[in-house]
Subunit: 165 residues, 2 copies
């Protein structure tokens, strides 16, 4: 994941859409809570694997009270998907030049948070569940503290690992 | 994945949020194209693995023209994530009673399309790429024909398979 700052400029080789996808709204999303972590802009890991290697960042999800009943059936040590909203970058770069790659690449071949729809997803392991407060501990995140969460789903090997991998 | 119909009723043991998440909008999403498939309501597979077993459904993604440059760097036979928008069901069932399970479960322990934010994700293999038309063939989908697509991301084993699985 690329570190993104407000006002990130357009780099050589990059292609802009010519419009801002943030202004073309086909549907609305609602936030169900936030990721809490010890990461902030500038010191967050590049991805969840690096986050795990760095100790996990004391990561947890704090759900809004209305949603805590939705945790029923989840178990400690179960892998889950956390879907979250990374809205700090531009959305109109359809071809990008990440600093760690030699050549520009299409946005759909990258996990960059700079994308038309800034939804990130990361696989994590549940380390604790408090059904009363709606707080779910997870073993890692690469998200800044207070990143909005849009969904939690169970990770299921039978559908989440494609056949040739 | 549960087949969902308009006007799906509330089943025994289910819990409603008390508000409609569709009406609480924190951010907007834009559709980048559509999934095309031979599936329609009532005859779609339960998940992508069943879709693959049923021949794949002649699945493909048709991107809007503005976004086809974003395919640069993707390769045939590469696994990807397809994120899509399943807006045909209710969004307020925080505890649900899927027909295939004996007991009600929290929405976050299910891959049900009935959820506060109806974003589904499925892993698939690229079978063709037409950079000119923005059409990407994929080996399977469980989505109805013309389901809106919100993102494509590369599937990456190092982050998408959690450590204990």
């Amino acid at each position: 994941m690329i570190a993104v700052v407000d006002g990130r400029g357009v780099r050589e080789g990059e292609v802009q859409l010519g419009f801002d996808p943030a202004e073309r709204i086909n549907a609305g999303v609602t936030f169900i809570g936030h990721i809490r972590s010890q990461w902030s802009r500038g010191d967050s890991p590049r991805n969840t694997t690096q986050g795990r290697e760095a100790g996990g960042g004391n990561a947890r999800i704090e759900l809004l009270a209305s949603y805590s009943a939705g945790l029923q059936g989840l178990e400690i040590w179960q892998p889950i998907w956390v879907l979250y909203w990374m809205d700090r970058g531009p959305r109109d770069l359809v071809v990008q030049s990440p600093r760690h790659l030699p050549e520009p690449r299409g946005v759909f071949s990258l996990r960059s948070p700079v994308r038309p729809k800034p939804i990130a997803m990361s696989a994590a392991i549940i380390t604790s569940i408090d059904h009363e407060t709606g707080i779910v501990g997870i073993d890692t995140t690469d998200a800044f503290d207070r990143t909005p969460v849009v969904d939690i789903k169970p990770w299921i090997a039978g559908i989440d690992v494609p056949p040739t991998s």
